[in-house]
Symmetry: C2
Subunit: 231 residues, 2 copies
């Protein structure tokens, strides 16, 4: 099994973190999975120092939980945290969508539509994890359009954490982020209609929250190596 092309010969900690991030966001490693330093280091051909830095990075994003002397685990948000993440998004994203609509560019809209298309393709090909990942990218792309990098960074982190929440609590794997909502949002932004964009985003987030089953949970297992290398 060979390494992926997006990994350079001597990866930096940020490259390792990015690769692990994708694996987590696409649900190729499930919440709670142990991330052993040596094991990860072998996958990327680096020492523990770099892996350690990457894991610390991901822990600051809330994607990984580090317990002293016990190691790093893919974060396993509880029901409380799941709610909190969406409440935080509800404070940030609607107004940010409004800003995005006010600063809309042709390139921005093109990007949003490309994200929707990619997500659609992933869903059709049955790659559910990838679809969740791409659905998150759509939200992040909107935040980036608002030209507020601080807020965009926070939203990006929250969207990432939402991916874990979805892995654990999503009700109906078939009907993910109904791309209808994403289409409508894109249209409102393209039209420069800030009011509508804000409303649509608010509704969309409520919709997502409503589709979470905040009682039970699912589990995902498998080989760490395969999971990281597959994407």
């Amino acid at each position: 099994m060979t390494l992926q092309s997006d990994l350079s010969a001597n990866p930096t900690s940020e490259e390792v973190a990015a690769s692990l991030r994708r694996a987590i966001l696409a649900h190729r490693v499930g919440p709670g999975s142990k991330l052993v330093e040596d094991e990860v280091g072998d996958v990327f051909g680096v020492g523990r120092t770099i892996v350690r830095t990457a894991l610390q990075s991901l822990s600051h994003e809330g994607l990984v939980t580090i317990i002293r002397n016990r190691g790093a685990f893919v974060a396993d948000p509880g029901i409380r945290e799941a709610r909190e993440v969406f409440e935080a998004r509800a404070l940030l994203e609607p107004r940010t969508s409004r800003s995005a609509a006010q600063r809309v560019t042709a390139a921005g809209i093109e990007g949003l539509r490309a994200h929707i298309a990619a997500e659609h393709r992933a869903l059709e090909s049955g790659d559910l994890g990838q679809a969740v990942y791409l659905s998150g990218l759509f939200h992040t792309a909107i935040a980036d359009m608002a030209d507020q990098s601080t807020i965009a960074g926070m939203i990006s982190t929250l969207v990432s954490r939402s991916s874990l929440v979805v892995a654990l609590y999503w009700r109906r794997p078939q009907a993910l982020c109904e791309s209808h909502a994403h289409h409508a949002l894109t249209d409102a932004i393209a039209a420069g209609d800030g009011d509508k964009a804000e409303d649509l985003m608010k509704g969309h987030l409520l919709d997502l929250l409503a589709n979470l089953d905040l009682r039970e949970r699912s589990v995902i297992g498998g080989s760490l190596r395969d999971a990281i290398l597959a994407g």
Copy 2:
């Protein structure tokens, strides 16, 4: 010169980070200052490994900027970033103040008043940096009362970064966070008046922003060792 009492014999990276954080937030090390790993390690009696972890932690909080092969520097936010930080706070804090008012407890109010008193004392004793630090703790304390740890964490980070912004762009060092605003906020929260708390916080943040001079900048120098050990 001896080490401080709040530092254990073998500090963890989090303890080192906390100590550095206080030094930065109290303006004992100015924006742009270089933080040399060996130098910091000598101050705390630890190797570079722990210092490195601490610095990475602070860099994720936006208090330190790490440039590859060049090292770590106290963050030096530009005008753009200064605005963004306050715009983000404007999205989060007013509604969080409302939540705090709705869940108010006697202990919470007591804590807020203690923060105000401490800030007042620091101002009277002329320790401006300490006053800025304590003023930030007041805002963080409100966020904690709202019982939303995710949002509270984001606010805490933004408040920290605001301290750097204040160090660089504050107009009138004498009239800091006029504790009048903090008193009024505390009263509204104590009364459980969510509407008023939200409004007051919104106004308070606008007031802070208005007191920034987003054109010029000041510089602070001195010995790193003294700065860290002084507080």
